[in-house]
């Protein structure tokens, strides 16, 4: 029987199959750990005297609670609260006690776990990967079965390197044709979520496929897979191809030998001809254009040129009211207070480049605060080597230290009540970026154009400015 990409990864990791009474025991190749969802798991292990079974299959980094502002004059990190500092220190201590590799302050592999993870060469095609974080699906871009788990399960994987799992249903998202010029991977995934609905993928694992997916860079593929959870799917995968292998060699430091030894196995993970899916949605890439959200779920994406829809139910009416928008208004031209570039969705070099290409030679509008937060120390170094930090600073944006920052606003980086934030992150839930703050999700290019305009703007109207070499 033809098998899908997900079937192949799943089958290779079944320790004991599911029965009518019990779920399957699934082996996990790699667990990523961060400070927020792990302390209570380590507490359970410590209380019960359980050792981490395979510390070499785990690595940890700090991202959610960490400050993104520079260190003080004594070189100390300025945490938002003592509790945040304690959480970070607790992870460092737990890792030391259990022999887990820890990417802390000053380590080039530190960063947002789903940005730093692939960069440090630990993420490979065909793996099962988990993290106590719903955006773990990011790693599906490499053809890995990667999904978010709760803290109890973080403990299970630390103790046994396994999880109890029922296999999810399968869903194909097929994107035919090519994305038009000026339409990014973020626009594509916002369109997919709008089409499928916020629960369109619930109970399913997605395989993204089709010409437009194959044409995406690895950064773009990570952006797409990252937001699988926003349509309810725990995981989203893309079959490995030459783009994947080239990226692993160039950006993740995999040796030519490792790649050639695994080439056939990794490329062979692609779904067999005729593999069946429980559900499929088909998107025509050529019909897409830059997207932004108008409401309080990620499924409220509309094209920049569209008017705000009229409320079809009380939840829509509540969302419009919360956002301070009226049905029939244009989304372009809405006044912006804050612009955030970063997160595990759009905190990679390519994203920073897209934003910088619009900001180069331009200024952030008066009254707009713009934060640019690279996804990892590696990304930050790459961006600085390319001079992007200067582009952002000269435009009047703040160039910050890597972290999750305003994506979930738990480190002190947050908007004030009522402020409108154009954000390259993944969630626009009420209060997500601070109590009362209003979030519009967008691509890095749209966010940068909106920063310049001081209102939501179309990036296609901001052609790159060619500067003289001396400038």
């Amino acid at each position: 029987m033809p098998r899908s990409l997900v079937d192949k990864v799943w089958d290779a990791h079944v320790v004991t199959p599911a029965t009518s009474e019990t779920p399957a025991v699934l082996f996990i190749d790699l667990q990523l750990v961060h400070e927020v969802t792990s302390p209570q798991a380590f507490t359970v292990l410590n209380e019960r005297g359980i050792k981490v079974r395979c510390p070499e299959r785990v690595f940890a980094t700090i991202d959610h609670a960490t400050p993104t502002i520079p260190v003080d004059q004594n070189g100390e990190h300025i945490y938002y609260t003592d509790e945040a500092r304690n959480q970070v220190q607790t992870l460092e201590k737990n890792c030391a006690e259990h022999g887990i590799e820890f990417f802390g302050w000053g380590n080039k592999n530190r960063g947002v776990v789903h940005v730093a993870g692939p960069e440090n060469g630990r993420v490979k095609p065909g793996m099962t990967i988990v993290c106590g974080d719903s955006h773990t699906a990011t790693h599906g871009a490499f053809g890995a079965l990667a999904f978010g788990i709760g803290t109890t399960e973080v403990g299970h994987v630390l103790a046994t390197q396994c999880l109890l799992q029922q296999k999810a249903k399968s869903m194909a998202v097929t994107v035919n044709g090519r994305l038009p010029e000026g339409v990014s991977a973020k626009d594509l995934i916002l369109a997919i979520i709008a089409e499928a609905g916020v629960d369109g993928g619930t109970g399913h694992i997605i395989e993204y496929r089709g010409e437009a997916i194959e044409a995406l860079s690895m950064e773009g593929r990570m952006t797409v897979c990252n937001m699988s959870i926003e349509l309810g799917a725990r995981a989203g995968l893309i079959a490995p191809d030459e783009t994947t292998l080239t990226w692993l060699k160039k950006h993740a430091g995999l040796s030519e030998q490792e790649i050639s030894e695994n080439r056939d196995a990794w490329l062979g993970l692609a779904s067999d001809e005729g593999a069946k899916f429980d559900k499929e949605i088909v998107i025509d890439a050529a019909s897409l254009s830059p997207m932004v959200t108008w409401g309080t779920t990620p499924a409220t994406g509309i094209k920049l040129g569209q008017k705000l829809p009229s409320a079809s139910d009380t939840d829509d009416a509540k969302a419009l009211n919360y956002m301070g928008f009226s049905a029939g208004d244009a989304i372009v031209g809405q006044k912006v207070s804050v612009v955030f570039i970063g997160s595990c969705t759009n905190g990679r070099f390519e994203d920073l480049q897209a934003a910088a290409s619009i900001l180069r030679g331009r200024r952030v509008a008066d009254g707009v605060r713009m934060l640019v937060v690279p996804g990892s120390d590696n990304t930050k170094a790459e961006a600085e080597a390319a001079g992007l930090d200067k582009v952002f600073s000269q435009a009047g944006a703040e160039w910050r230290e890597p972290g999750c920052s305003m994506c979930l606003a738990m480190n002190g980086d947050m908007a004030r009540p009522g402020e409108l934030v154009v954000s390259t992150s993944n969630r626009n839930f009420m209060g997500r970026q601070g109590p009362g703050a209003r979030t519009v999700l967008a691509s890095p290019a749209t966010a940068a154009a909106s920063a310049v305009a001081g209102e939501i703007a179309d990036p296609r109207e901001y052609a790159p400015i060619q500067l003289e070499e001396s400038a």
């Binding site: 082996f27 302390p39 209570q40 959480q87 709760g150 299970h156 629960d199 725990r234 209060g431």
Partner: protein, 195 residues
């Protein structure tokens, strides 16, 4: 070692929130995630719904009513618990006193996390959901052993639940113990595995 109390029949008032897509940022806002403990989370439950910016309580919020405080059952619109995987959300719900959530649909990770914390998520059809919305003052009875919610004039709504989760909840068994009991099979797998 068992960490959960066995799940007995629950007979209780319920709290009704009709919103769909209630995300875990509503249930437990992100800025309260810096704790390293799991106890005492109820004070943060639906925090931005329950409190004003100055910290004063919003009396009319359903979660601040006496009925809510004695309810062990929450009834919600579809896709409850979407968004972040934070287990702090079910910790807060359990700490507040909820043992059962009824909704037309649940987000996957939340459902999984709830079952691991002694909260039974039950998917209900629109007929039963509408009955609940029409009878907000009713008391209902949830019987996991019989897989029934009993309500109204002797009626019963039969529900499905994962058999393993049901057994765990009824026995108060811990999944970690189950996984640890598989250590021989895991070692055999690892010995053959080339990943």
């Amino acid at each position: 070692m068992s960490t959960l109390d066995p799940f007995e029949i629950i007979y209780s008032d319920f709290v009704l929130v009709e919103e769909e897509n209630i995300d875990t940022d509503q249930i437990l806002p992100g800025r309260f995630l810096t704790t390293t403990e799991r106890a005492g989370m109820k004070k943060f439950l639906f925090y931005d719904w329950r409190y004003r910016d100055d910290g004063s309580e919003i009396e009319k919020c359903v979660f601040n009513t006496p009925r809510a405080k004695r309810s062990q059952i929450l009834v919600s619109g579809a896709n409850f618990g979407c968004g972040s995987s934070r287990e702090h959300a079910p910790w807060a719900l359990a700490d507040y006193g909820f043992r059962v959530i009824l909704a037309p649909e649940f987000a996957d990770i939340f459902k999984n996390n709830a079952l691991k914390n002694g909260i039974l998520p039950i998917e209900i059809d629109s007929t039963f959901y509408n009955w609940l919305k029409d009878h907000p003052a009713a008391r209902i009875s949830v019987d996991l052993k019989a897989k029934q919610v009993r309500y109204g004039d002797g009626w019963a709504y039969c529900f499905d639940v994962d058999p393993f989760a049901r057994r765990r909840m009824l026995d108060g068994m811990d999944e970690m113990d189950f996984l640890l009991s598989k250590s021989t099979e895991i070692a055999d797998f690892e010995a053959k595995y080339v990943g």
